[in-house]
Symmetry: C2
Subunit: 188 residues, 2 copies
């Protein structure tokens, strides 16, 4: 179970088993049920979660009550409300479980300690992860600006073939920024 996190880190900064045990000691384990909220708009954002098992999403509820999915997170992905977490502000996002889930989570304080005092090279790992996340978001912005619904849907299927099998069309539509009716009229 720990292997999944160790493997991810090892791809970027190889750690000894002892080092990894130090890393892990800064995380806690959380178990959640389908439909359970991990974070609600307005609350503080104490943790980033690394998903060990299950499927979660982060989403924004606009003033008219429509929800817009910012991110999905399945095994081996990270999820939080970045703005809330890193700036220590209240959440503008909600996070809930689309399937029963288990995560390793860490506080900002522990993350900082881990990076600066104990294992500086883990900071490089987080920098790489943040960079990759930022690149993905850039592509998403360009996709929203330059592609129509069908092109965005096709791109999503290509990008996340494993994820899509676990999602309803309604969820995919809410991620792509289109209505479920429009998505329904696209697919073969």
């Amino acid at each position: 179970m720990q292997e999944i996190l160790k493997n991810q880190i090892d791809k970027i900064v190889p750690l000894t088993d002892a080092e990894f045990q130090v890393v892990l000691s800064y995380f806690s384990i959380g178990k959640y049920k389908k439909h359970q909220y991990i974070l609600q708009q307005g609350n503080s954002v104490p943790y980033v979660h690394f998903v060990v098992k299950g499927l979660l999403r982060s989403f924004y509820l606009d003033k008219s009550g429509k929800s817009h999915i910012l991110q999905f997170a399945m095994e081996d992905w990270w999820i939080t409300d970045n703005q809330g977490f890193y700036n220590e502000q209240n959440a503008t996002l909600n996070i809930d479980c689309l399937e029963d889930a288990q995560t390793y989570y860490i506080s900002l304080e522990n993350r900082t300690k881990l990076c600066s005092e104990l294992l500086p090279k883990i900071e490089f790992f987080f920098l790489q992860k943040m960079t990759a996340g930022s690149i993905a978001l850039q592509n998403r912005v360009l996709s929203l600006m330059s592609k129509n619904s069908e092109e965005r849907y096709t791109q999503f299927i290509q990008l996340y073939p494993n994820l899509i099998q676990r999602l309803s069309k309604t969820l995919v539509a809410s991620y792509l920024g289109i209505s479920r009716e429009t998505l329904s009229r696209l697919s073969p």
Copy 2:
């Protein structure tokens, strides 16, 4: 002139003058004219630029020939094609100057050296910058999904009151993902 970069770094990790001179020695100075390209789609992406003076933009040209602005960068901002730069791939973006400009630029190799060998704490600076950039992109995604043209325009004015004075409506429209005619029909 160097002060602008030193001040930015100091806000996150205070440096001695000597340390800052080391940092600076890893950068080069570039001067560019209005309309000049700094990066073209398909080329390699050798540098990140810190803007000392002037105004640049990065944009994506879609297959139908329409351009979509991903980012503006004026004094004190950073700009590059992240995907190309960090993954050492060819650029999918173009960068050109909207005004005569001057930048400090650094290669990936030098950036890595600087972080890992010479001044580890500068890595923390880059991590903070990347985090802030990522948060801005998240908000942009949510804005594109949940707001209409007028709301996005209003938000842009609030967010970048100084930048907007230096931009034509056509450029703002291309950043917001709407046509210049629509933007023209919005403003008072």
